[in-house]
């Protein structure tokens, strides 16, 4: 079963545990500046939104890469960057419509979410389940269930 990261911004408190878990897993430091997932704060609106790569099936970054350095990980479905092949041309950062592939000055390569090889550290670290790693085919299940419950209540009340 393929799993995907599912984000529920309504549950996010903006604590950045995900950013630290990500940078620690991938770079060995607690460093939001090196995180592949970013939490955005919209102050006036009072909202926090985690954002990262959603692993497009026909990924723009993968198609744009001139040296085939971005490949499908068959085990996870993630689009992984092969560091030894990446030449740091940054074409993928232009191709990605969502901005989730970024250049890392320190290494001269690009970095993006690779689902931590199938056990994303951000989802484990998130204290509010704003980020979960769930069945890719049923990411809407919980929301459907919540609305189903509401619908059921209304139906019973009017019956």
């Amino acid at each position: 079963m393929e799993k995907s990261l599912h984000i529920d911004p309504g549950k996010c408190t903006g604590c950045l545990q995900c950013e630290m878990a990500c940078s620690f897993e991938n770079e060995g430091v607690f460093n939001p500046a090196k995180s592949r997932i970013k939490v955005f704060t919209f102050h006036q609106e009072g909202s926090f939104v985690p954002y990262t790569c959603t692993q497009c099936v026909e990924a723009w970054c993968m198609q744009a890469c001139p040296v085939d350095a971005i490949v499908v990980n068959l085990a996870t479905g993630a689009k992984d960057v092969l560091e030894d092949r990446c030449v740091g041309c940054k074409v993928c950062t232009i191709a990605c419509p969502f901005g989730t592939v970024n250049y890392n000055q320190d290494t001269g390569k690009v970095i993006k979410c690779d689902l931590c090889g199938g056990d994303p550290a951000c989802a484990t670290a998130c204290p509010t389940e704003a980020i979960t790693f769930i069945d890719a085919d049923s990411t809407g299940y919980d929301r459907m269930r919540a609305w189903a419950e509401k619908t059921g209540t209304v139906t019973q009340a009017t019956a």
Binding site: T13, G14, F24, V29, F30, N31, P32, K34, H43, G46
Partner: protein, 618 residues
């Protein structure tokens, strides 16, 4: 390690920024943040210094766990001599600035001297420089934040600034970071402005990577996060209701100081409570509270994000206040509300926004307005002084007018900006100032929570709830229940809370974790992260050392046992209603025992024996 090992020293007189190695010998004794910065401060600053003179230093200090994944590991403190009190000031703040400083590679920033012209300190990793502040001097904290973000074209810049209140001499001006988190108390913002320093703008991309045992650290911090999540207060009460969860609880305990502490229960308490913040307003159908929010690394998320009804009289024609911003915490809601007798939630929220926007402490501000209202009631202050404003208890419009005046220091705002001690002296009634060592009380009436009376009287930074929060034991039963109306056993309780808190602050963690954690939960996190062996006992001993070091500074600054007292109202006037009805604060029953527990003389001086046991500097 998990100290970065670097101190940034900024000499504002000379305009220089230099890096020096952190004194690791001191770090082993004083941990970091509050403790370690105090050690630096007492070494470098004459205790008799005028707080607003160039010779006073201003230290921004992180702890060894700041910037890590330990839950709540994002705190920093500002250490200086406070202009409101003349005592050691140590104001702790959350948000994201502290972690950014660590990420830039600095444990602390020591600012000394005074710049000839307004400047701000720009830090980008190793690079630190003082830049001209012409375009931000005279602006609010919020404007400063916006201007600097635009100027540097970096949305991820973290900014701490003082506002117009500090620039115009408010003695309880704060330093506000990330728009609505504040190093709030004792006037640390006034010290900043006195140095012609407007802001710190910090960008760190290095991160914190020098954890002693990373695998053990990840495991233990994950376990401790679970403890927080499973606890009723940190897992449910605080995220859902914020610190405001206390409003109704403390009122029912008969310990909610009301109308300048004349009464200890407020009939309007429910209207300004957490429960009310969540209720849809009748006017626009939206609740005051939008959602909760976290500071850096915090898995509790007690912060409040709020709005004011667009039609409310305070913001009717001011769209700049129609969006979300930092909402009411309990202490602010109490000071702005119960203490002034105002129960208009949106008016309190507006006053709170103004406190954040122009950088001043809502506790001291609210309590000063409360004192002014009592002075107005007895005729010592009149409409001639206020320019026609009826400064009456319960008047929401008077409260928000006062906030606007203090923000700019105009008119009667200049009097209110003095704090209640100087205000009450000026108008001939010093007894009406509800302060210890010049600093206003927070939201717990010590007649109804006796331990807090002792905690206030002996607090090293003047009246304060964050120096020994015995409310946890006396009201909430954490770690064990004691009777709030009893004085027996409170001396030991207060000492224990004070020492534990001093250690806690110094790690870089938030004190609110202590509802669920003890030092036994902190020690393994410290030990996995930091060089050396860190046990609960060692932390506790460091806490006691830090407490005594602060006390020692105050003694050298001229404070004596005579300053370990409370206003006559709390010692002589009996509580009128509630469980504490008929009670005064039994300070005299607790204080001698407290001195004894501390190993001090009968007149509150640190003995040579205690000094040598703790290894205090001469």
């Amino acid at each position: 390690m998990s100290w970065s090992g670097n101190v940034l020293r900024v000499n504002l007189t000379k305009g220089t920024c230099t890096s020096e190695p952190l004194n690791m010998e001191w770090a082993r004794e004083y941990i970091g943040q509050r403790g370690l910065a105090t050690r630096y401060f007492v070494e470098e600053v004459d205790p008799k210094v005028d707080p607003l003179a160039p010779e006073n230093h201003l230290i921004f200090a992180t702890g060894p766990l700041t910037g890590t994944m330990a839950s709540t590991g994002g705190r920093y403190s500002v250490i200086t001599k406070g202009p409101l009190t003349g005592a050691i000031a140590c104001s702790n703040s959350g948000g994201f600035l502290g972690a950014e400083l660590r990420s830039a590679g600095w444990d602390m920033v020591i600012l000394e001297g005074k710049s000839a012209k307004p400047v701000y300190l720009n830090i980008e990793n190793d690079k630190a420089e003082l830049l001209a502040a012409d375009e931000i001097w005279g602006k609010s904290v919020w404007e400063t934040d916006e201007i600097l973000h635009k100027k540097h074209q970096d949305p991820q810049l973290r900014i701490a600034a003082c506002g117009r209140a500090a620039e115009t001499g408010c003695l309880y001006a704060a330093i506000v970071n990330d728009l609505h988190r504040a190093a709030g108390r004792s006037g640390v913002g006034a010290v900043m402005a006195s140095k012609n320093l407007k802001a710190l703008a910090v960008r760190g991309t290095k991160g914190v990577g020098n954890i002693k045992d990373p695998a053990r650290f990840m495991q233990t911090t994950a376990e401790q996060k679970k403890v927080l999540a499973d606890h009723a207060v940190t897992g449910e009460g605080l995220p859902t209701f914020g610190t405001q969860v206390l409003m109704n609880v403390i009122n029912e305990s008969g310990a909610l100081p009301t109308r300048n502490m004349r009464e200890s229960q407020f009939d309007g308490a429910h209207n300004i409570s957490a429960e009310q913040m969540a209720e849809p307003r009748k006017s626009d159908g939206k609740p005051n509270l939008t959602r909760n929010a976290a500071c850096f690394a915090c898995t509790i998320a007690c912060g409040r994000i709020s709005t004011i009804d667009k039609g409310h009289f305070t913001v009717e024609n001011k769209p700049q206040y129609w969006g979300n911003s930092g909402g009411l915490e309990y202490e602010a809601a109490w000071a702005l509300g119960a203490d002034t007798g105002v129960d208009d939630l949106d008016a309190l929220t507006y006053a709170n926004f103004i406190c954040n926007e122009d950088g001043f402490d809502p506790i001291t501000f609210g309590a000063t307005v409360a004192a002014a209202m009592e002075l107005f009631e007895i005729g010592a202050i009149t409409t001639e002084h206020t320019g026609g404003v009826e400064l009456k208890f319960g008047a929401a419009a008077a409260l928000t007018w006062a906030a606007e005046k203090v923000a700019t220091g105009e008119g009667f705002g200049a009097d209110l900006a003095l704090g209640s001690k100087r205000l009450c002296e000026k108008y001939g009634h010093p007894e009406l100032s509800m302060t210890v060592k010049g600093q206003e009380f927070p939201a717990y009436d010590p007649r109804g929570i006796q331990g807090m009376g002792l905690a206030y009287a002996t607090s090293n930074r003047g009246a304060c709830h964050l120096r020994g929060y015995t409310v946890a034991s006396e009201i909430l039963g954490i770690p064990e229940k004691t009777d709030p109306l009893e004085t027996d056993g409170k001396a030991g309780l207060v000492k224990a809370f004070q020492d534990v808190t001093a250690a806690w602050d110094s790690t870089g963690l938030c004190l609110f974790t202590s509802f669920a954690w003890t030092l036994d939960n902190v020690a393994p996190q410290m030990d996995a992260a930091c060089e050396g062996e860190w046990t609960s006992d060692r932390l506790l001993e460091a806490g006691e050392r830090i407490w005594n070091l602060e006390r020692d500074f105050n003694a050298k600054a001229g404070f004596t046992a005579a300053d370990d007292t409370l206003p006559p109202r709390l010692l002589e006037e009996r509580a009128k209603t509630g469980p504490a009805e008929g009670k005064v604060t039994g300070l005299a029953e607790m204080l001698p025992e407290y001195y004894q527990e501390r190993g001090w003389t009968a007149d509150g001086q640190i003995t040579d024996e205690t000094r040598s046991r703790l290894g205090l500097p001469a």
